[in-house]
Every structure is written in structure tokens, then in C-alpha cells.
Symmetry: C2
Subunit: 349 residues, 2 copies
């Protein structure tokens, strides 16, 4: 016991100049080769039960953890997946990241998160940085990467998956919810409710999702011979929805409004309450996303739901197909959306 303790102390001193225990340290304590240590920690590799036991004991004693960086060097790839997102505290985005990071871990993948909140030069520099970690894939939840950086990713065998952003001139995979279909659902629902003086609330953000929803809704309403009033300035935030209510309802006698996100809609509802209008009797309001707060008692927002689990499932499926060497062509997936009827839109006329 004394000799054993002295040996362990000596081994620990031997690596004092570096922090982490190496396979070499374990091999010395276990009295085997470094190769045996490696084989013990490599599933399916050949090692005798006796050696395996001695190695595991030594590893436990020393607190050895395989160095994934070194391991990844051999395969030229890590199990990292880069995830680029901004506005991570906004309800919809927070939910998306929650579910995606959960699903990645479940599949043995690790999430390298890059917050694009202050990406003044766009997301390209972030993607360049991610590439240096030899990730398997990159999921872009915010920002629109230029095609040059996407081409570079593809050249390096790294899939880029755009979530809810669609740029038709890139080589990236895209997985989006059916914004056009959702906007049509919203338009039809308002028309069905008898609304004829209609508004649409967006924000100052020039994101593809918001523009797509606003334009599609506007087109549908104009097909019915109505020219909707438009609000499109400010941040994509609750406060903007409230400002839109005061702005639009001060100058228009609207009876139906579509907000391109639920967060805008919740602010709009609170602003509309301040003008004395009754919801939905005087004014119907419909949103898009179905964030948790939309179901809260003061709101009970009627909205178009995009399924977070469908989105996440598609992202993971795309990554896994690539991982299993099944070369696939670009994925362009449009996920269905559905109407969630609550209390902010009148029943049929």
C-alpha cells in the first residue's frame, strides 16, 4: 500500500507540467502499453479482460478522460455541431435552441453555440470560426450567410442547414415552416370572421421569415379586394407590437390584424386594449408561432403554430443522414403549420 501510494504520487508529479491525465500516465500505472489503454477506451477493440480491468482501475485512480481533441484529429472531424443564433431570449428562439440542443445531445452530438447578437459583419465570420473546429454540420437559426461561405463549407464536407431562412441562390439545406401557407390561413381566418378593414404588423427587421409572411398575407388579402394597412418598423419585440397598435389604430378603424410573430401580437393586443377596443368583438387579432405566452390568460391568442419538434426533427435527420455517409442532394423541406384557435378572432360571420 505504501509503495503503491508512492508510485501514484510519482506518476502525478510526472505530469505536473500539464493539467490533464494522459493515456501514457494510465499505461504506466497499469503496467501495460499506451496502446492497450487506447484499445480499452475504443469500443470494439481487442483487449483482454485482465488488461481492461487494470487499465480501468488506473484510469479511475488518476481521473483519466479521453482527449476528444486528439481523437478528433485522427478522424478530421469532431462530434461538434455549430449552432448560430441571435435573440436567444426571445420566446420562439429560446424554444428552438432548447429543443435543438436537447436533441443533439441525445444523438451523441455536442452543440457549439455562437451567439450572433453582435455579429456586425453578418454571420460569415462566425461560420469561419466554427469551421476551425471541424464541425460536422452548422445550423443557422439567425442571419443569412453569403453563398461564398456556404460553398466553402460544402467544399469541406460540412452541411449548412438554414432554419426558417431561405435564400434560393445558396447550396445550403433549408428547413422552414410553411410561412406562405400560414399567412394564407391567417388571411382566410380573418376574412371568414368578417373582417374587412385589415392590417398587418411586422417590424423593421428585414429577415426572410418576416418579409415572407407579411407579403404573403398582403397578397391574400388583396386577392379579396382589400388593401391592408401595414406596420413595418421597430424591433421584433413586444414593445413594437404595442406601438403598432397605437399607430395603426390611431389612424385606421381596423377590424382585423395579422401580426407576423406572436410576440408582436401580444404587444399589439395590450396596445389595442388601451384604445378601448374589445377583442375580438371590435377587433380580431391573429399571430404566428404559438409561443408559450400566447396561451396565457390575458391573451389566449389565436395563432398559426409551427411545430418546433418537426423543425428539430428535420434538422437532426439531415445531420444524421450526412453522418452515415448517405450522400444526399440538398434538402429543402417545408413543414406544415396549423391554426390554433383561441379567443382573439371572432367566430364566423
Amino acid at each position: 500500500m505504501v509503495a503503491s501510494s508512492d508510485r501514484e504520487d510519482q506518476l502525478k508529479r510526472d505530469r505536473a507540467t500539464r493539467n490533464f491525465v494522459t493515456a501514457e500516465d494510465v499505461a504506466r500505472l497499469a503496467g501495460v502499453s499506451r496502446s492497450a489503454v487506447s484499445r480499452t477506451f475504443t469500443p470494439g477493440a481487442s483487449v483482454s479482460a485482465d488488461v481492461r480491468h487494470r487499465v480501468q482501475e488506473a484510469a479511475r485512480t488518476l481521473g483519466y478522460r479521453v482527449n476528444r481533441l486528439a481523437r478528433s484529429l485522427i478522424s478530421d472531424q469532431s462530434n461538434l455541431v455549430g449552432v448560430v443564433g441571435a435573440n436567444l431570449s426571445m420566446p420562439f428562439m429560446a424554444r428552438q435552441l432548447d429543443e435543438l440542443s436537447r436533441a443533439l445531445l441525445k444523438r451523441g452530438l455536442q452543440c457549439l453555440l455562437l451567439n450572433a447578437a453582435e455579429a456586425e459583419q453578418g454571420v460569415a465570420p462566425l461560420i469561419e470560426l466554427i469551421l476551425e473546429f471541424r464541425v460536422r454540420a452548422i445550423v443557422v437559426m439567425s442571419g443569412s450567410p453569403p453563398s461564398s461561405i456556404i460553398d466553402e463549407c460544402m467544399a469541406n464536407g460540412v452541411r449548412v442547414i438554414l432554419v426558417n431562412r431561405q435564400d434560393t441562390d445558396t447550396e445550403a439545406d433549408t428547413i422552414i415552416s410553411d410561412d406562405l401557407g400560414g399567412a394564407r390561413i391567417a388571411a382566410e381566418r380573418l376574412l371568414q370572421a368578417g373582417c374587412r378593414r385589415i392590417g398587418v404588423v411586422g417590424s423593421g427587421a428585414r429577415t426572410p421569415t418576416q418579409i415572407r409572411r407579411r407579403v404573403a398575407f398582403t397578397d391574400c388579402i388583396e386577392e379579396a379586394g382589400i388593401k391592408p394597412a401595414v406596420w413595418a418598423s421597430g424591433e421584433t419585440a413586444y414593445e413594437t407590437g404595442m406601438a403598432a397598435a397605437k399607430g395603426l389604430l390611431g389612424s385606421h378603424d381596423l377590424d382585423g390584424v395579422f401580426c407576423v410573430t406572436d410576440l408582436l401580437a401580444l404587444g399589439f393586443l395590450d396596445g389595442a386594449h388601451g384604445t378601448g377596443r374589445r377583442i375580438p368583438e371590435d377587433l380580431s387579432v391573429i399571430g404566428f408561432d404559438d409561443i408559450p405566452q400566447s396561451a396565457w390568460a390575458p391573451y389566449r391568442l389565436t395563432t398559426v403554430r409551427q411545430s418546433m419538434s418537426d423543425l428539430t426533427g428535420s434538422v437532426l435527420a439531415t445531420i444524421e443522414r450526412e453522418m452515415h455517409g448517405k450522400a444526399i442532394s440538398l434538402v429543402h423541406e417545408v413543414l406544415p403549420v396549423e391554426l390554433v384557435e383561441r379567443a382573439t378572432v371572432r367566430s364566423s360571420t
Copy 2:
């Protein structure tokens, strides 16, 4: 041009069996040694302007990105920081992750996010996994790691920083908001408002933060000779707050309630509205956290704010001190909180 194009094509084929461009590829195209390539991409290393230019041109042509995994192998450390969190879509946690990931990136650190939502064996296995990536530090926002894994981290030179969780028997750094002081503020504010029939709403979660707030508040109220009614079941969610309102207000005629989180308080407020009580005339409600939704028009919740930027700042400061080799003793930091007066607590009696 033709010869140059042929040479580039040949170089690309040479590495066809691996995805990423290496420094060796760049060196061949630029006609220099691989060492020159390395020096070109190492700040402060000696390389002539001519060689530097040729290397950079070749790197751009081939799309070369330094392999951070290999680079980290030399230093036995990456610039990764492990972040462990659960309930990432809850407003408070989402905000914390948003700010932390933003600040890490700003400091040249990368966020390795591990979602602990389904960590049935606690967070220790996640921390073990993180250690394999040779991270610089680990920030734990959810879960209570056992001291054994924390000791292992320390032995490997990895700081573990617990945020808003305090276990006095561990070697981890802890950065928490002043839950005791905040609970005292809430208690005093309700007493000052003249409340004498007081309740406290927690959840079924046995997290240190919630227990601490509930117990501290209860102690303060009992010092005033009042025995508060307690609710402590269900998830830490809006719906639990609503259930607590129905449960407590159905059996108690309360005039003041402290909810240990804002999310519980918002649900409680909506549940209280359903019982016909006026806020704050009949019933004062105070929360803890100051999430964005607390300022929304239907709520305007009076609450105790913990400063997210202070929390994040302390975490980053701790990581950076460690990075700069300034060996410091354990950090135990308690950040001040403050009362945010809105509309849910009566004025003074």
C-alpha cells in the same frame, strides 16, 4: 493560367480522401514549408512579407482554416467553455444563456452547450463529457454536481462555476444573487403595504435557489409574528402559479403573496384575477427575477430584480482571471438585488 489551374486541381485531388484543407496543402501551393504556413497564421511569429502574402493567397485559394483541434492539442486546452443548463426556454434561463454566450464570444471563448433537460443521472456525466473537450471552465446553470466531479475538474485545472446554486461542501466557484436579501426585501415590502395574511408560492422543484428564497421569506414573515401559507408543488411554470392561486386563494383569504419566481407570479396573478380579487387593492403580489414579461401591460409585476449583466460579468471575470494564470482562491460572490416597483403591491398603509 492553365498550368496554375491544373496545379490547383491536382492539389485538391491530393486531399480528396480528407475533407479539410491542411497547412501542407497550402505550403505546396505557395511553394514554402509547412512551417512557414504555421508561422503566417500564428500572431507574432516571424515571417517575411513576401512569404506571408504567398501563403495567404494560397490559403484563400484553397479555403484553408486552421484546425483548432490540432492547435489545442499542443496547449492541452481549447478555448471552449462548457455551459450546462436546463429549462432553456424559460424566460430567466433563456436570458442568462443569451447574455453568457454573447459575453463568451466577445472574449474569444466558445460556448459548448450541454442541455441538462434529460440528465436523469444528474449533471455529472455531462461534466465528464465536457472534460473530454479540454475546456477552460465549466459554467453550471442547472443541477448540482457532486463534489467528486468538481474535485476532478479542479485536479485537471478546470474551474467549475456554479451560477445561482450553492453547495457549501464543494470546491466550485459560486456566483449567486442575494436570494436571502431579496426575500427580505419582498417580505418587508408586503409588510409595509399592510399585508397580514400572507402566502408564499414555490414549486415542487427542490433547487437551492427556490428553497432558499422560500425559507428566507418565511423566516422574515414569521419574525413579524405571521405564519405564511405555503404552496410548494408542481413544475416551475406559469401553470403552477395559476394553480397556486386557485389552491391558496380557495382556502385562505390572503392579502399578500410572494412568488419565488416571476413566472410563477404571472400565473398566480392570472389565477387571482379569476377569483374576482383586485390587484393590488385586495391582494398584493410580488415576484423575483424581473423577466421581460413582468413589465407587460396585463401584469406590471412588482418584483425583485437580479441583475443578469452582473451575473454574467462575474462569471467572465472569474474565467479570465484563471486564464491569465492568476491563481485565485475560490470565488464566492453574492450579487445585490433590488426592488422593482410596478403595480402589484399596494402603497404604504
